[in-house]
Symmetry: C2
């Protein structure tokens, strides 16, 4: 009733004009959609999103102003119903995971076939979560690095790092675990060695990246 456009409203965000032209052409000629807007920066896109309906955003990870992952977050914050389909060259697993983490409904590599592109757009609009073939492989094959990444921590070390992350000092932790503060110091040193980091800040970061906290 209040909709001004019956067609699906698509927004593109990418800083490659040529590629964007191609996308545009493919979209209008193959799917019954409106190109609501093409944006080079994330900010432009967000501004537009504040005022207009957008059903689906096709976006690149590499943008001039903010990175695509943060942009996903912003988009979902502003318009939870807008579907995000990432269209990018980045094939690193962690990047893929992060975009999904932040609300993207799909991830395609830029070398995706036209067929795949068409069907993906169709599918995400129906609420599906889609990945292009290559991306599926990447997801299914976590690298050795990502799997073996977290150093094996002993029970004690896990306790210590947990308490550390709660902002407690060695002394407090020592009291809590009823051991000497010197012992806690040793645990900390061992932890830092295992993670190959220089101080607690980095240690906590590493541990969280590996989801050990």
């Amino acid at each position: 009733m209040f909709k001004q456009h019956n067609k699906i409203q698509v927004a593109l965000v990418d800083d490659h004009p040529t590629l964007m032209e191609g996308l545009k052409a493919i979209l209008v000629s193959n799917l019954n959609v409106d190109i609501a807007g093409c944006f080079v920066t994330g900010q432009d896109m967000l501004n537009y999103l504040g005022l207009n309906r957008v059903d689906i955003v096709l976006l690149d990870i590499a943008l001039p102003d903010i990175n695509g992952i943060a942009l996903c977050q912003e988009i979902k914050k502003k318009a939870p119903d807008t579907v995000i389909l990432v269209f990018s060259n980045h094939s690193e697993r962690s990047i893929i995971m992060q975009t999904i983490q932040n609300g993207a409904s799909g991830y395609l590599l830029k070398n995706t076939s036209l067929d795949e592109l068409r069907s993906s757009i169709h599918d995400v609009l129906e609420g599906k979560v889609v990945f292009s073939k290559e991306v599926q492989e990447i997801i299914s094959r976590p690298s050795k690095n990502e799997l073996q990444g977290p150093p094996r921590l002993t029970r004690r070390e896990k306790q210590v790092i947990e308490l550390l992350s709660e902002g407690k000092t060695s002394l407090r932790i020592a009291e809590e675990l009823s051991v000497s503060a010197l012992t806690i110091d040793t645990h900390r040193r061992n932890l830092m060695q295992k993670f190959a980091v220089k101080n607690t800040a980095e240690l906590i970061k590493a541990a969280m990246l590996h989801r050990l906290i």
Copy 2:
């Protein structure tokens, strides 16, 4: 040549015997597969996996010995080609994301329809990544909680916290940003106030929880 079984080898891991029976029945009557084994504990499953070929594992998140997320990791470490399909009651977004993070190729809720179950198994075996309808919705709709909440940081503060998380000291950061170390100290104090934390460890943790790093 060395394969003793031509049929797809399926392993089930779950601590609900009844449900497992049902699964078994559905699988053998609908798909041309062998039930290689049914396991109640993750350890049993891993032991079996060390000695036998398993093409696909259907697994629950809640297990008596280890949690399903860690098990995904172990499975992928031991047998990268074994496909993991999670079949669980847990509908929390973070759990879903973590299983995928750790190598699962799909996630179904236990109330999934038989059709969906059949087609999902079929699809993951072809290398696809599949989610049941409900799961897709969960993925596409990150909770407010996950998106919102972080204190507003100034540009400088973001820089500082970023560098802090890389294990740099105030002095180093000061050099890098060409300001006095005292300034950095102030930023740190302000950051800690904003996050209402006591020290750097907790600060990094909080910042990471809010995905500011």
